[in-house]
């Protein structure tokens, strides 16, 4: 197991459908320290896709439920739990010694907050999302001058979109997207391979169609554009 992984600290926001495979694979692969962020409790309706939680953990905090499973898998794994809603301050405090942030959250507001904190701190962000038949993954490396950020893709409005609990999702789809996120985290930590930075990988499970879109840094992005000092 590579030493770099053992000495890495990865923050996972959301211990739901995506956070489950992400945390399990990162723990199994040898990442030494996971910071688990989720304010929610395990519900029976989660178990169909959130494979880290089990029936006997219904009602427990998701971070506690996940910790039990992860530490059964890797007893020496270091885990830090955070069971509150994220604020700008709490995020910035957490990011000081984090190597990669994995966004497994389920709404735009949290995603924008995580992105802003990662840009501010120069922290790599592996972003994944899935609902119904569709999933996507992107990697943002804010320390690289030409890396786009999540906010370059989406406007910051209050509109909310479909959530898995309302719209449903096929369990294996979050497994696929979460597994790709875990893969990208390991690549970023080890500095190997070609990362998805500057690209958005999309998957339509209904038609089994994968697409990779080339992304661009938005020169007018209110979050990352002020960091551009020259061309």
């Amino acid at each position: 197991m590579p030493k770099q992984l053992k000495h890495s600290k990865v923050l996972i926001v959301g211990l739901g459908g995506l956070g489950a495979p992400v945390s399990l694979y990162l723990a199994a692969a040898g990442v030494g320290h996971l910071v688990l962020v989720d304010y929610d409790h395990v519900d029976l309706s989660n178990l169909q896709r959130q494979i880290i939680h089990k029936t006997s953990h219904i009602g427990q905090e998701k971070t506690v439920s996940a910790q039990i499973k992860l530490q059964a898998l890797v007893p020496e794994l270091q885990i830090t739990r955070f069971n509150q809603r994220l604020s700008k301050t709490s995020l910035n405090n957490m990011l000081s010694d984090i190597n990669v942030v994995v966004d497994c959250s389920d709404n735009f507001m949290t995603r924008f907050a995580i992105n802003a904190a990662c840009v501010e701190n120069g922290t790599p962000l592996v972003s994944g999302a899935a609902v119904r038949w569709k999933g996507q993954v992107a990697v943002f490396l804010p320390a690289q001058k030409h890396s786009p950020c999540y906010r370059c893709l989406y406007n910051n409005t209050e509109d909310e979109t479909e959530t898995c609990s309302q719209m449903g999702i096929l369990a294996p789809l979050v497994g696929i997207i979460g597994s790709i996120q875990a893969l990208e985290v390991i690549k970023v930590l080890l500095g190997i391979g070609q990362s998805l930075c500057g690209k958005l990988l999309t998957f339509d499970a209904y038609t089994e169609t994968w697409r990779t879109l080339k992304l661009r840094k938005d020169p007018a992005c209110p979050v990352c554009s002020q960091l551009i000092t020259d061309n």
């Binding site: 959250s105 709404n107 735009f108 569709k134 406007n155 038609t207 169609t209 080339k214």
Partner: protein, 77 residues
């Protein structure tokens, strides 16, 4: 000119097709293509667009033979 328009995921379901070919003599942008296919319905701000597999904004110009793809927002986890 002729443009290949593609719709993914829930947009494919709403529009009922994954692929539409449109012909036009006017100059086109992503937003104009959306309006033409969707009977002038407004283009929601969270729809992602790509011209020839590159991220594009609503006002991005489109040329003959281009492929324009529309993706619904995905935020669930």
């Amino acid at each position: 000119m002729s443009i290949d328009v593609k719709f993914f995921a829930s947009l494919r379901e709403q529009i009922g097709k994954s692929d539409i070919q449109i012909e036009s003599t006017d100059s086109l942008t992503c937003a104009k293509i959306w309006a033409q296919v969707c009977n002038n319905a407004p283009l929601p701000s969270h729809i992602l667009m790509a011209v020839n597999k590159e991220y594009a904004v609503q006002s991005a110009p489109v040329q003959d033979g281009d492929e324009v793809a529309f993706f619904p927002p995905v935020t669930g986890g």
